[in-house]
Symmetry: D2
Subunit: 351 residues, 4 copies
C-alpha cells in the first residue's frame, strides 16, 4: 500500500464515533480526511464539539479538525465512510453516500437484513463480502454498504462459528449482561444503573435472535441462506463500562463433550484471506481456564479488544454445552469491527 486510503467518519462525536477516531489513529492503511457530525456541531473543531468519553486521549490530528456536514459533498476527498449514525439517520443518509461512490461501513442496524447487504465478521464469514457485487448490480450504486452486527451478537457468533463448523449448531439460549457504552452517550442515566440491573434493551433481543443466523448462513445466488440454528435471547444492562458478557446454552446435531468443544474453540482459524489484515484479532479466540473468567474489566482488552474470550465450557443438562463469552462492545462489536470490514473490502479489491 503506497498511499493511505482517505476515509471519513460520520456521527463522529458520539461514543462509537470516538472509538473510530481512536482506532483510526495511526492505522496502517487509512487516513481520516473528514469528520462529520450533526448540524449543531458543524463548523466547530472536533475538540470543542465532542465530549470525549474514552480513557485514551483524543488524537492530536483530530483536535483541530473542523466538523463538516454529513453529506457526500462535504467529505468528497474520502473513499470509505465509517458510519456511527443512529439507525434512523443511517436509514436515510447511508444510501446517499453509497450511491455516489463511497464504501459505507456501518454500525447501524438499518440495512443488516437486506438480502444484498453483507452482515460481516471477517473471521466468521469473509466470503459474504461478495454480496457487494449483487448489491451494486441491484441498486446501480458505485459505492456500497457493509454492515457489522450488533455488539451482543459479535463475540457470540465468533464462538458459535467455531462450534458450528464441527458440530452443527441447532439451538441456542442466550442471556446477555451488557455494558453501558453500548447505549452511547449520554445513554443510560446513572440513577438507573447504580445498585441496579435493567432487564431489557429495546430491540436487542430480536437482533440477537436473527443476526447470527445470517452470519452463520451460506452465501448463494440469491444472497445468504439463513443458518438453520434458532435462538432465544434475554438482554440485560449492567453497571460495566465496556465489554458484553453472554451466557449461552447450545444444542448440536449430536452430543458434544466439553473437551471437544474447548478444542474446537482453541483451534479455530479465521479464513485465510483475513489473517493478514491489520485489525484481525490475534488470536481470534482466547479460552480462559479459570472458573470465573472471562470478566469484562480484566479480559475485554484481550487482543487489543478484538479477540473473543470464552470460558466455562461445560455440559448442559438440557442442551449439550454451556459457556460464557466476552467481547469488547465498542471495539470488536462496533468501530473496530467496521474498520476490519473495510480492510477486507480493500483486500478483496472491492473498493
Amino acid at each position: 500500500m503506497n498511499q493511505p486510503i482517505p476515509v471519513a467518519v460520520i456521527g463522529a462525536t458520539g461514543s462509537v464515533g470516538q472509538r473510530f477516531v481512536s482506532l483510526l489513529d495511526q492505522h496502517p492503511w487509512f487516513k481520516v480526511v473528514a469528520l462529520a457530525a450533526s448540524d449543531r456541531s458543524e463548523g466547530k473543531s472536533y475538540a470543542n464539539a465532542c465530549r470525549w468519553v474514552l480513557s485514551d486521549p483524543m488524537p492530536e490530528w483530530a483536535r483541530n479538525m473542523v466538523l463538516v456536514p454529513s453529506t457526500p459533498e462535504a467529505i468528497k476527498g474520502a473513499r470509505i465512510v465509517f458510519s456511527a449514525l443512529p439507525a434512523d439517520q443511517a436509514k436515510d443518509l447511508e444510501p446517499e453516500f453509497a450511491k455516489t461512490g463511497f464504501a459505507v461501513c456501518s454500525n447501524a442496524s438499518s440495512y443488516r437484513r437486506d438480502s444484498d447487504v453483507p452482515l460481516l465478521l471477517p473471521e466468521v464469514n469473509a466470503d459474504h463480502i461478495q454480496l457487494v457485487r449483487q448489491q451494486r448490480q441491484n441498486r446501480g450504486w458505485s459505492g456500497c454498504i457493509l454492515t457489522n452486527p450488533n455488539c451482543t451478537s459479535t463475540g457470540l457468533t465468533v464462538a458459535l462459528k467455531a462450534l458450528d463448523d464441527q458440530f452443527q449448531l441447532k439451538k441456542v439460549f442466550v442471556v446477555s449482561l451488557q455494558a453501558l457504552s453500548g447505549a452511547g452517550y449520554p445513554g443510560v442515566p446513572s440513577l438507573d444503573i447504580i445498585d441496579n440491573v435493567i432487564p431489557n434493551i429495546g430491540g436487542e433481543e430480536e437482533k440477537v435472535e436473527w443476526e447470527p443466523r445470517k452470519m452463520l448462513g451460506k452465501l448463494g445466488d440469491k444472497g445468504v441462506e439463513l443458518a438453520e440454528a434458532r435462538f432465544s435471547a434475554h438482554t440485560n444492562r449492567v453497571a460495566v463500562v465496556d465489554g458484553h458478557i453472554v451466557c449461552a446454552s447450545m444444542e448440536f446435531a449430536a452430543p458434544v463433550s466439553p473437551e471437544a468443544a474447548r478444542q474446537a474453540l482453541v483451534t479455530y482459524q479465521a479464513p485465510e484471506i483475513v489473517r493478514g489484515l491489520p485489525s484481525t484479532p490475534r488470536p481470534i479466540i482466547v479460552y480462559r481456564e479459570e472458573s470465573d473468567r472471562p470478566q469484562p474489566r480484566l479480559d475485554r482488552m484481550t487482543g487489543k479488544g478484538m479477540t473473543t474470550v470464552v470460558g466455562r465450557v461445560r455440559s448442559d443438562p438440557l442442551f449439550h454445552i454451556k459457556f460464557v463469552v466476552l467481547s469488547h462492545n465498542t471495539i470488536r462489536g462496533a468501530a473496530g469491527g467496521s474498520i476490519y470490514n473495510a480492510e477486507l473490502l480493500v483486500q478483496e479489491e472491492l473498493l
Copy 2:
C-alpha cells in the same frame, strides 16, 4: 398467641444474621432471647462484635445483648434456632440443636437434600412441613431441621409454581444476575465487581438445577418425589447490593400463551394455611407491566421484601415462555424465608 415464643439466632453477626435480627425486631410471635456467634466474638456485646451492614439501624434491644457460644446449653431458653451459619459449620452444629429439642430453621445448604428434611417455601409447598414427622421418627430427635432454598431458587420457584400448577413445567433455562449481599460480608472484594461481572458463583448452579425440583415435587410416604421438570443454570454476580434477577425460559407440557401465563402469575394464591402468617408475602406475586421491570433497586422491597416480582412474560422462540423474576435475596431468599418457615411450623403445631 399469649406469650411470645423465645428464639435464638446463631451466626448472628454475619450479613444474614443481621437480617434475622432486623426482621425479628417487633415480630408479633417471636422474641429473641439469645444471639450466638463464633468463639472470637463470644462475650462481646452485639454492637461491638458486629459490623452492621444494613441501612436499617440495629435494633436497640440487640445492641447490648452479649454474644453466647453456638451450643444448645448457651441458648437454652429458646425454642427455635434461626441458623445463619455457613454450610460447613451448619453441617456439624445444626443436628446438635435439633437433637436436644430445638426447631432449627436453617439457611444453609447442608441438609436441603436429605429426604426427611423439608425444603420449604410456604407459599409453594407448605404441605412439605409434614416431613418433620418422618424426620423425628427416623432420627429420634425431639427438635427438627427445616431448610429454605438458596436465594436464587426462591423467587424463581414461586413464579414457576404458579405456572406449573396450570401448565405442567418440563424444562427451564435459568440465568441469574445476583446481588453482593448473597456472598455475605466481607464477601466479594470491590476490585472484583466495580466495572465488572463475575460469571460464576461456586456451587450455585447445581443448587438451582436441583432445589426447585424438590420444592415442586409431591410429598409421598417416602419423602418428596422430585418434580419431573429439568433445569439448566448459569449464575453471575453483578454490582447490586440486594435483589437477585433471574432470566428464565420455560417449556411446558403444551404451548402456553403469554396472556395465560400472566394470568396464572397474577391469580396465584398461597395454600390456605399460610395466608394469615405474619411473614406471608402480600401479595405473593406482583406482575410489573413495564417493559424494563423488575429492577433490583426499585422493586426489591415490594411487599416488605417478601413478594416475588415478575415481568416481561413473553413468547420464547425455542421453548414456550420467557420471563424475568426478582426477589430480595437476604429477606425472602434467606432470613425472611426462615422466619416464615418457623411461623408455618408453629401454625401447624409442630413446634
Copy 3:
C-alpha cells in the same frame, strides 16, 4: 387540625417532585389535591407521565391523578404549592403563584438571595420565617415564597449552627462528595460516574459559600444580616444514589476541643417552636462514634432521612476542628425540607 390543608406539587414528575409525592403520602396536615407538570405531560395520569425512580412505591392515590398545567388557575383548590421546578422556570412561575395567594415552598435557588425571602432550616433559623411579613408588604402579595437551601448546605449548616451558637464560627473549608439524585433524572450519565468522580458541580460552590451565611445570620429590620463566617467550597459528584457527604474544617473565635465540639453537637436543640412539627428531625443531630461513619448507604435514612449525621470530630492542624457531615439530599435537603418549612408557616399562622 380538623381539616387537612390542600396542597399542590409543581414539577411533580421529576426526582424531587417524586419525593414530595412520597413524603406527602399520609402526611398528618397536608393533602395533595393537584399535581402539575410541564405541557408535555398535561392530561396524562401521574403513573403514565412519571418515570418513578424511588424504591418506595408510588402512592396509590397519586397513580391516577391527572396532571394539570403549572398555573394558579389549574391548582386553585390548593393553598400551599410545593415547587420542584428547575431554577429558570421557578424564576418566572413562582411569583405568579405567590401573587395570587399561594404559599410557595420552593427548592429552587431563584429567590434564595432576595432580602425579603426566608432561606429556612427550621431547626436552625425558624425565626427567619418572619421575613414573610416584609415580603408581603414589599411586594403586595397575598401569598409568599419560602425557600430551602441547596442540599449540600443543609446538613452542614445544621451542624455548624450547633457549634456557632457556642463558639462563634469564623472560617469553614468544605469539600462535598455528592449523590447522583441531586442532579435529578436523567441527570448524570452513567458513563460519567462508573469508576469515576466528577470534580465539579456547576454553580454549587457559590451556593455553599453563601447560603449558610444567610441562615446563620441575624434577622433585623432590613432583612437578614449575613453571618460573619466565611466559606471556601469544593464540590464533587460520586457514585452514590442518595446522601451527601461533606468534609469540613472550621475555625472559631477561639480554640475548641473535639470533646467540647462533640458535646455541642449532641446537645443541640431546635428552637422550641419547631419541636412538635411533624417533619422535625428526631433527633436533630446524631453523632456516630465509629471512626468510619457517617456513610451514605448506612446512615442516610437516620431519622427518616431528616436527621443530620455527624462523625469524626477531631482537631484540625490549621483551623480548630474537622468533621464529616451527612444528610439525605432529596429528603432533608430538598422535598422534606420544603414540607418542614410549610409546617412552620402553618404553625406560625402565617399561611
Copy 4:
C-alpha cells in the same frame, strides 16, 4: 547500559506487586530475576499463586516463574529489590536486604520518616537521593532503602512543588477521594463501597499531613529540614478502581493569581538529572482547561500513568488558590514511583 540490571520483586502477588511485574515488563534497564512472596505461595508458579487484578495481561515471562521466599539468599542474583510489602513486614524485612547489599525501593511507610532515608519523587526532590550516603555511613549498610510517599501525597506534592518554588507555600487544606486499588486485594469489601463512601482511611491523614513537608524540605547536613508549610487532611474512599483525586486549597507567602498559578504548573520542569530517565513523566504536569477535569477514569493514564494532572485552578475565598489534582495511585503513586526512584539511584551511580 550494556547489561540489564537484575531486580527482584518482594510481595509480588499483591496488587502493587502485580503493578511492579507489569511495569517491569520490557523495562529498558531492569530485568526481573526473582519474584518473592509469603510462605504460603512459595514454590508455586506466579500464575498459580497470584490472583491477577490488572486489565493488562500478566507478562509471559512471569507466568512460570517460581515464587521464592523473601530472604536475601533466595534472590541473590538481584541487585535491586522492589518492595510491595505491607508496612509491618517491611519494617522487619527491608533492612535485612539493605544490610546485605541490595538497594531496596520500598512502597511501605515503615522508613519514610527516618532522617537518613530518602522519601523521593524524582521530579520534585531528586537531590534527596544523596541521603543514601548518610544512610550507608550511619548504618554500615552496603545496600540502602529508598522510599516513595503514600499515593495521596504523590500527585499533590508534584503540583505543590511547582507552586512552592515560585510562591512559597504556607498552608494546605487537602481532601482526598481515593481509589480502591490503594487498599490492595481483597481490600475494600464491595458491600462497603457500592452506593457508598467511606469517610476515613486509617493512618492516611497523618501521612498526608507530614510526607509532603519532607519532600518539599531542604537537604542539609543533618538530613532534610521539613518545609515550613503545614497541612490539614481529610481522606475518603470512593468507588473508583484506580486514580486518586485530591481537592486542595493553598495559602502562599503572598496572594497568587489563578493565572500565575496555572503558568507555574504548566511550565514546571523536573530537575535536569531526571529528565532522561525511562520512567520520568512526560510531561511532569498536564493542566486540563475543562471545568470538570481531571477525572479518574478519563485522565489517570495520562503519560502512561506517571503524569500529574491538575485542573480547576481558581481563587480561594479563605486562602489564595484552590485546585484539583489526580494521579494514578498504583503507577505514579506506588510501583511506577519505586521504579523511577531506582532509575535515579542508577543514574546517580549510587547503586
